[in-house]
Every structure is written in structure tokens, then in C-alpha cells.
């Protein structure tokens, strides 16, 4: 593909290097390879679109570029500076990101959101200037919005996106990453956002647009970089490409049916969950507050059991952060502990005069802190306090206090969200792993193997002791129980389930089927209600879902009380993924079986046709000659009569052998061929076989047996039969005058080799290795050889030997290799 080798430097861009550059980025999440050696450049003035299906690695790449995810290997350069996994450095060097979740404060107005963190103490309440500045910013970008005093919570999705972009543009970044800016928007609103994005390069800001929308990329981008499975798989220029080409690169293969589309929906869910993770917003809020207050440091403590744990800080020295990492509740925790316990603000105007501060805040005092004030966080579901440290003595102003109160609401919200996101992220990673594993199951990996890996991921994500997937046995396996008498209380017979896949830290719980009954409880259906093992400490949660062979249960076990509502969500999601995988497996299995059945029917048809020919040919001769002899009106001469009779005799014995062969064949085919072995002299076997041939044929066979042949432990009659077959084939299927050599030699490893070699035209090449093949469709001179060869093979393998057909330069050679004494009595 021409585009794959395209110079990444866009036309008309000067010799200056890229403004944003990634080299060799690799990121692994467990077994998932999220990024696998990604290189990316964004040059000044460009709009680059980053395309990829969910799970292709776009989000991870963006998080790496923004410094939120540390790559396992590789570098990120913004401007000329390495900013690897340093979000602050990346921002300072001119990188801004508008995350999909926007991180706007809904209860603040447009202006406050635009300038959040950028206010100075002086300008904060000088509203006129504040709003003027905000309006200026919007005008500069050509954004039309309702009154700047409107809380952003009242804005439409598109307007919120515009606000978020405008806020990101406030500091004139050199490059702006837009993460799925229109994913949640309607057509009209998308158009507004696209219009804005298209203008950004004019403002001196290059854009990296992450999108699902191929058409949008073609409208906006100068270049489209396509990712798949953690790699950059192609780059195209819209003017030289077509959306179909991009779609092809995105998927890597043509779409193939419902299983894939189900997985892709699951993908999309995982993608949405993953992109909900914003940059660390708590630290953003705290830095914004610190800047707005103009104070030395801000820190937040959150209650965690019996201590107050430092949850976030801005400007705190690392010494102090260590000292205040965990503080006792109440007076033991200094003013922080007291403010928390009292539930009200505490102000220490001069820390040097405060009695508790000598011990509590020595590091702060030594660091120049002179006054401090602590306010409780106002937020439902969050218990904590926020503390502001100042280099000047004295009480905070009313403005400062009210500002701190406003921010404490955001802090509480951010804490709550971080906590949820933490859970979400874990869940995400687990789902991502499961998804990845299940997707690889589309390949030749047996589903059980893949399922165990998926369950491993789930177990780690749930921090559980044991995860098991139990399914109904497939029909016809014999271990399904019939509806037992009185076994059903609610009309559905309780079916014993078997463990399909398992993952655990120890050994599987004994009798998981019994556990399933316990989890199913009175309702007869596992419903995610936790239950405790009778007489044990294990907690179990099961979720039941319909699988192709009947109900299936995903069973999770903890030894402690670690189960939580979010775990249940994860279990439900995982059960859903597993259901899809089982369904897909079932449909693929059905398809394979149908193909196998068709193949076997076709083989059967060919075999019957072949057999029909083999039986009818001697019958035709017999019946034809017999009816000729019976013609009342014809007087056959003696020669003809003799010829007819001898052919009838020969063909009858041929037919008889064929019937024997058929019986043997079915014995071999059904595995009931029995040998009656004894010590055999192979020279005698060969002579007996030759004697079975018609006299004219027997004369063509040359036997070569060395004098010192060992006796062989074998079934004389079977060997004779097989040699008759081979000799007869060799003579009948070759032109007249062909000679046949049957030879025996032995090797020192305890094997003898019997070869039957002819110098005729021999078996057609296509027959070798496939005795039936197309034999039936187009008869050759080898008629009858097919069945004989199959029987030869069956007899030889029953003896523990091997049967091969070789093509020397002339003719055909059949080689039987037999062990001399396999299975023989020990006295040998």
C-alpha cells in the first residue's frame, strides 16, 4: 500500500520538527498488549486524525501522550522536550487535552469553567473583567454561546464540548488532543464542533483528533493514522484515499457475521468505559484553587477507616506530605483531625503560637508556613477536610473562605469520582482482558483454554479466591440427567452442571455442582445474591445465564467479605461476555459438524458408487457369459464355451474375494478386525498367496525370499489375503506382460519388509495416499485397488506395522513393514 510508506511530514510544513512526537511506545496491561511499538508525529499546523476500533489502543496512546499512562518503553516529546509520563511537563510544553468526559464543573457558569484555575485573586471578583476575558476567549475562537453566566450543566452536549475546547485553548497550546469530541453528539452539534476544530490550526494549534467517525476524519484531517491491535497499521491522506480503505485498515478484515458484530458491541462498551477515565482531576482542582488563592499549599484529607489519609495536595513539600500522609481523627490529628471531628472550619492564624503545631506541623513551620485553615469538605458520601497553608500570618479573608468552600464541593465530587473511576478502571481492565482473550478464541485456540485465561483475569480483577464457569453438558454426552422424579419445584428440572473452566488460587472447591445448588437457592436460579458456605468461611456469588446447551452459572468465591456491588456489575458484564463466547463457539461447532457431515456423506456416496462398480463388473461378466451360454439360438464353439466358463469361474472367485474384502473392510472400519497370530514363515505365506491367483497371473509373479528369514508373529491367513490383493492388483491393473516381484528382506531392528513391485503403468498418482479419492468418478485401470489398499492398510496396522506405496521410476511398489515379534509370547 502506497500510503503505508508515506512521509509523515505534511506538505507545506517547514523544516521544524514535529510539535508532538512519540517513538516506540509500548504498554501492556496484563496479557493485553495495548500499545505495541507506536510511532506518531504531529507537525505544527496539522490536523491529524487517529482512527481505530475500540480496543485498538487509541485511548492508551492518548493517555501516554498526555503523560497519564507511563509506557513500558518508548518516548514522548512535546516541543523539543521529553515529557514521558509527566502530565504537568506535557502541559507546560504546550500540550492540551480535551477528554471525552470534558471535566467541566456543571454548577459553575461558562466563564468560571473557562477560567477555572486561571483566576487571580484580584480578578476573581472583579466580575466585569472576568467575563470580559471569557468573552474575548470565545470571540477569538468564533464560538457563539448563550450568556456567560449560564451554568454549564444547562448547556447542550455540543455547547459543553465547545466550552471544553475553549478552556483548553486558553493557554494557546501548540497541540491539542481532542478525544472523541463528537462521539456523544448529534449531527448539528457535531458540525459546530468540527467547525471549531478546523479553525484551531489557524490559531497556531495543531490538532490530534481521536475519532470513530471515518467520514469526519475525511472532512477534517490532513492525515489519518490508523491503529489496530496496538499498532499503527497505516497512514492515509484523505485526498488520496477513500473511507472504504480506512475502514478496511481499521478492521483488518472484512466483517464476518454476527459473532464479530456482537464482540464489536462489547468492544464499544469497553471503549466507552475506558475513555471515561479523565486526567487526574483532583490535582487539577487543587492546583487551580492554590493558584486562585495565591497561597503556599493546599491539601485534602479523606477519612479512611480510623485515619485521615492525604488524598491530594498542591504545593505540599514531600516531607510534609509524608508527615501528614495519615493523621488520627480528633485532637491527635492536630487542627486537621479536630476540624474533621468537629465538622467545622478551624483557623490557626499563627502556627508559631499554636500549642499543638510544634509537633503536628513542624515540617510546615520550618518550611515557612505561618498560618493555616482547615474546612470540612461539603459533599455527600465524602468525609474529609481541606487545608490551606499560607506564608503569611492572619485569618483568611471572607473571599478566600468562600472560594475554598466552593472548591471543597468540587474536591468532594472529584474524590467521589476518583473512587468510582478507580473501581471502573479495574473493571475496565478486567473486561478488556476478557474481551481480548475471547477475541483470540475466534482463532484455533480451544475455547476451554481461552476461557481459563479469561477467568484468571476476572478472578484477579475481583480479587477472588476462585472463579468457575459451569455449563450444562452438551446434548448427547450421556451425562445429562433426565428430568428426575420430583426434581423440579418450579417446573424446571434442575440439571447438573459440569465445570467448563476454572481459575483459582488453590484447588477447586469440592463438588461445585452442589455449591451451584446452594447459590441457586430456593428460586432455582443463581441471582447474584451472595451466600455463605454452610460451615465454611467462603462467600459465593453466582450469576446464571442462558448458554447454547442450557443454563450456565458463573460462580465466584471469596474467603473474606470482599464482595461489593461493583463486583456484581463486573460479574454480570463478564457473564455476558462469556455467554457471547459460548454462543459463538456453539455456532462454529455446529458449522464444523455440518461440514464434516457433508464431507462424510460425499465420501460415502463416492464409496458406494465405487463399490457398485466393483461388484457389478464381475457380475456382468458372470451373468453375461452365463446367459450367452444359455442362448437357444446360438451354437458356441468349444473354444468360446471353454473361455466363457473359465471366465465365469475366475470372476466368481474374484467376486467372492470382494465380498470377503467387504466384510473385512467393515470389520476394520468398525474396529472389530481380530487377528489370530502365530509364528509364520513368510516364504510360505508368499507362495500360498501366489497359488491363489489364476494360473496365467501366477506365472507373472517372481518371489524372492532369502533363506535366512526369521519367522514372524502374524496372522498367516490375513497376510496371505493381503498379498493376494496386492499381487492381483499389480497384475490386473497393468498392461499385459508386466512382471511383478514380491520380495522380503529383514532389517536388524526387528522388522521385516515385504515389497510387491511391478514395472507397469501402476497406480495413478492421485490414488496414492488417498485410496478412494476420485476413484469412483473416473475409472482407471486400477479398478478394485481402492478397497484392497484400504484392507491392506487395515491388516498391516492391526499387526503394528506400516503400509506405504512408493513410485519408483517405473511401476509401483507397495511396501509392508512388519515387526518380527510384536505381541509375541515372551519365550519368543
Amino acid at each position: 500500500m502506497a500510503v503505508a510508506t508515506m512521509d509523515t511530514r505534511p506538505d507545506g510544513i517547514g523544516p521544524g520538527g514535529p510539535i508532538l512526537s512519540a517513538r516506540g511506545l509500548a504498554v501492556h496491561f496484563g496479557v493485553v498488549r495495548a500499545l505495541d511499538g507506536v510511532d506518531l508525529d504531529v507537525f505544527p499546523g496539522e490536523i491529524v486524525a487517529l482512527a481505530g476500533e475500540n480496543g485498538a489502543g487509541k485511548s492508551t496512546l492518548v493517555r501516554c501522550l498526555a503523560g497519564d499512562v507511563r509506557p513500558d518503553t518508548g518516548t514522548v516529546t512535546v516541543g523539543r522536550a521529553r515529557v514521558d509520563s509527566d502530565a504537568v511537563a506535557a502541559r507546560r510544553r504546550g500540550l492540551a487535552v480535551v477528554w471525552q468526559d470534558l471535566a467541566l464543573c456543571d454548577n459553575l457558569d461558562i466563564a468560571a469553567n473557562l477560567l477555572l484555575g486561571g483566576e487571580s485573586r484580584r480578578s476573581l471578583f472583579a466580575s466585569g473583567r472576568f467575563y470580559r476575558q471569557a468573552r474575548q476567549l470565545l470571540e477569538q475562537l468564533g464560538i457563539n454561546l448563550p450568556s456567560l453566566g449560564t451554568p454549564v450543566g444547562h448547556l447542550s452536549g455540543g455547547q459543553r464540548q465547545l466550552v471544553a475546547v475553549a478552556r483548553a485553548m486558553r493557554d494557546h497550546p501548540d497541540v491539542l488532543i481532542l478525544d472523541e469530541p463528537t462521539a456523544a453528539l448529534g449531527v448539528h452539534e457535531s458540525a459546530q464542533v468540527e467547525e471549531l476544530a478546523a479553525k484551531l490550526p489557524v490559531q497556531g494549534t495543531a490538532v490530534l483528533l481521536v475519532s470513530h467517525d471515518v467520514e469526519q476524519m475525511f472532512r477534517l484531517a490532513d492525515r489519518i493514522v490508523i491503529m489496530r491491535k496496538g499498532r499503527v497499521v497505516g497512514q492515509v491522506r484523505p485526498e488520496e484515499s477513500h473511507p472504504d480503505e480506512v475502514a478496511g485498515l481499521l478492521s483488518g478484515q472484512p466483517p464476518d457475521g454476527s459473532a464479530r458484530s456482537q464482540l464489536s458491541r462489547l468492544d464499544s462498551l469497553a471503549g466507552q468505559l475506558a475513555s471515561a477515565e479523565p486526567s487526574s482531576s483532583l490535582s487539577l482542582i487543587l492546583s487551580a484553587l492554590r493558584a486562585a488563592l495565591g497561597e503556599a499549599a493546599v491539601c485534602v484529607h479523606e477519612r479512611d477507616g480510623s485515619v485521615l489519609r492525604l488524598a491530594g495536595a498542591a504545593g505540599l513539600t514531600s516531607e510534609l506530605a509524608r508527615a501528614w500522609g495519615a493523621l488520627p481523627l480528633g485532637a491527635g490529628g492536630g487542627q486537621i483531625g479536630r476540624a474533621f471531628s468537629a465538622g467545622r472550619e478551624i483557623v490557626v492564624e499563627d502556627v508559631r503560637a499554636a500549642p499543638g503545631w510544634a509537633r503536628f506541623g513542624r515540617q510546615a513551620r520550618n518550611g515557612g508556613v505561618r498560618s493555616a485553615w482547615t474546612v470540612p469538605l461539603s459533599g455527600a458520601g465524602t468525609a474529609g477536610v481541606m487545608t490551606v497553608l499560607s506564608r503569611e500570618t492572619g485569618a483568611p479573608t471572607r473571599d478566600q473562605l468562600s472560594l475554598a468552600n466552593v472548591y471543597s464541593g468540587y474536591v468532594a465530587g472529584a474524590l467521589e469520582r476518583d473512587r468510582l473511576l478507580g473501581e471502573l478502571t479495574t473493571r475496565n481492565r478486567v473486561l478488556e482482558t476478557i474481551r481480548e482473550v475471547l477475541e483470540t478464541l475466534a482463532g484455533p485456540v480451544p475455547i476451554e483454554a481461552g476461557l481459563s485465561v479469561a477467568l484468571d483475569a476476572l478472578r484477579r480483577g475481583l480479587n477472588a479466591e476462585e472463579v468457575a464457569l459451569l455449563t450444562s453438558p452438551p446434548p448427547g454426552t450421556g451425562d445429562e440427567a433426565g428430568p428426575g422424579p420430583g426434581g423440579a419445584t418450579d417446573g424446571t428440572p434442575e440439571q447438573p452442571l459440569r465445570v467448563l473452566a476454572w481459575s483459582g488460587t488453590g484447588f477447586p472447591s469440592p463438588d461445585l455442582a452442589r455449591v451451584v445448588r446452594a447459590v441457586r437457592g430456593a428460586g432455582g436460579r443463581a441471582t447474584l445474591e451472595p451466600s455463605r458456605d454452610p460451615g465454611g468461611s467462603a462467600w459465593r456469588v453466582g450469576v446464571e445465564f442462558p448458554a447454547p446447551d442450557g443454563p450456565a452459572v458463573l460462580l465466584v468465591t471469596w474467603t473474606d467479605d470482599a464482595e461489593s456491588p461493583s463486583h456484581r456489575l463486573l460479574i454480570e458484564d463478564a457473564a455476558n461476555s462469556l455467554r457471547l463466547a459460548l454462543e459463538r463457539e456453539a455456532s462454529e461447532r455446529a458449522q464444523r459438524e455440518a461440514v464434516a457431515l457433508r464431507t462424510s456423506q460425499e465420501r460415502q456416496r463416492q464409496f458406494l458408487s465405487f463399490l457398485s462398480h466393483e461388484l457389478r463388473t464381475p457380475l456382468t461378466a458372470i451373468r453375461g457369459y452365463a446367459s450367452s451360454l444359455m442362448q437357444p439360438d446360438v451354437d458356441w464353439d468349444d473354444g468360446s464355451r471353454q473361455r466363457f466358463l473359465s471366465t465365469i469361474a475366475d470372476e466368481s472367485s474374484r467376486l467372492g474375494r470382494l465380498v470377503d474384502d467387504l466384510l473385512d473392510f467393515s470389520a476394520i472400519d468398525t474396529g472389530i478386525l481380530r487377528l489370530h497370530p502365530d509364528w509364520c514363515d513368510l516364504a510360505l505365506v508368499l507362495e500360498a498367496a501366489r497359488a491363489c491367483l489364476p494360473a496365467s497371473a501366477a506365472g507373472l509373479v517372481d518371489l524372492r525370499t532369502p533363506a535366512d528369514l526369521p519367522t514372524v508373529w502374524a496372522d498367516h491367513d490375513r497376510l496371505e489375503q493381503l498379498l493376494v490383493n496386492l499381487l492381483d492388483n499389480a497384475i490386473r491393473h497393468n498392461p499385459p506382460g508386466t512382471t511383478v516381484v514380491a520380495a522380503v528382506d529383514c532389517d536388524p531392528d526387528g522388522y521385516v519388509r515385504i515389497s510387491v513391485t511391478d514395472d507397469g503403468t501402476g497406480l495413478p498418482a492421485e490414488m496414492i495416499g488417498s485410496p478412494f479419492g476420485r476413484r469412483a468418478e473416473r475409472r482407471s485401470r486400477t479398478g478394485g485397488a481402492g478397497l484392497g489398499l484400504s484392507i491392506a492398510q487395515g491388516i498391516v496396522s492391526a499387526h503394528g506395522g506400516s503400509f506405504d506405496i512408493e513410485r519408483p521410476e517405473v511401476g509401483t511398489r507397495c511396501v509392508i513393514t512388519l515387526p518380527v515379534a510384536k505381541g509375541a509370547p515372551a519365550d519368543g
Binding site: S609, S612, H613, R616, T617, L619, T620, A621, I622, R623, G624, Y625, S627, S628, Q631, D633, V634, W636, S640, R643, F644, T647, E651, E777, R778, R779, S780, R781, G783
Partner: protein, 236 residues
Amino acid sequence: MSTSPDASLTSVLVVEDDPNIVDLIRSNLVVRGFDAIISSEGSRALQLLETEQPDIVLLDLMLPDMDGIELCRLIRERSTVGVIVVSARGGERDKVSVLNVGADDYMTKPFSIEELMARISATLRRTRSADPAAPASPTLRVGDVSIDLAGQRVTRDGQPVHLTPTEFALLRELAANRGKVLSHAHLLRRVWGSGYETETEYLRVYVRRLRAKLEKEGEPPLIVTQARVGYRLASD
């Protein structure tokens, strides 16, 4: 069956590769005064068809160098000679396939000599010209098709249409009873011979072959099907 009068100066091309069957057929043909030409290969059979101009071909379906059905089609491209296909497979599918490519008759192995000779006679009777004793009958016209019963010539829009003897025999039977419904059994007996009355497949295949050669799309059919009963030639 006695030595058939058909035999005089009649040559039979036997395409068969099993030496026993060749000997069986040749012995029986020669003893009855037929001339037997033998080929064990399809390609050779096509040559002999040109050089020997046999009166009838006995064709085994399984040949070493060529598919029998394909060979039958090639023979039919070159000649209107009567073709009897002999098969050791005996499936209905084979029967329809060989009739479709123009075989006149189909026989499965094993067969008795009586059956073989009867089929050879029936096919020869059909493929030989019309009963010379019959009075000259006028040329029939049905739509654009005109049928010269005595001269065994058929034209459509004035253009000659090539019919195999079996096709012509069927058309002649229908034309001779124009407008009258002829039962399947009647047609089979009259065209193929007694003993063929239940071989309805033969009739279906040959009616289709005739229609393909004589009827035009969008025009009323020349041969009218009387469901489950038989066929008749349109009265005009």
C-alpha cells in the same frame, strides 16, 4: 432372440475397457453377424466414430481417459448415431445425465445378453429411417415448424433443425396422432420399444430436448403436457 435381421452389415462400436466384458459383447455380436469395433479409450472411440461410421455405439460410462458423460456429449456433437450407455453405477442421476447429453438408451451392469440385444435392436429400429413401407405422408405444419415425415426432415422458420433419430421418432409419433393425447406408456412403447413403458424419465428428457429445439419462447407450446397422462402435439 434369434439372429436379428438388423445385424446384416450393422457395425457396433463398443467402448469398454474391461477385457472380459469386451470379450462377452464381441462374442455375442459376432456370433449374430454384427461387425464389432472395439475401443478401450474415449479418444480412440471418437476417431473410430469418424473412420468406421458405426451404426450404433455401446458406451461404458467409466473409461480410463475420459468421463463417459462427456464422451457421450462429444459423440452427439458429431453424429446422430444411436448411443446406448452402459453403467456400473446404476444411479437415477446418471441416467438423467446421459439422456440429457443425448444418449438414446441407458443400461446398468450386470445385464443379460437378452437385454443387451433387445436394446441394440430397439435403438437400431428407431435410428434407421422410417418404415419404408409406410405410405408417403404429407408434410405437417405446426406454427413455424414443418415436419417432413417421410424425409425425416424438420424445419423451423424454413431453417433445418437437426434431430437425433430418437428425437425424430418421438416427434413423428406425436405428429402422426396430432391433437390426440398420447400416454407416457404408449409413447415409450412406440418410440423405445416394449419393456420401456415405465421409463418416464426417458420421455421427460426427450420432450424437453424437442421443445428446446423446436419451441420459441413466448409462443404457445408445440408439445402440450397433459399432467400425469401424457403429451400431445398442438393442433395448430
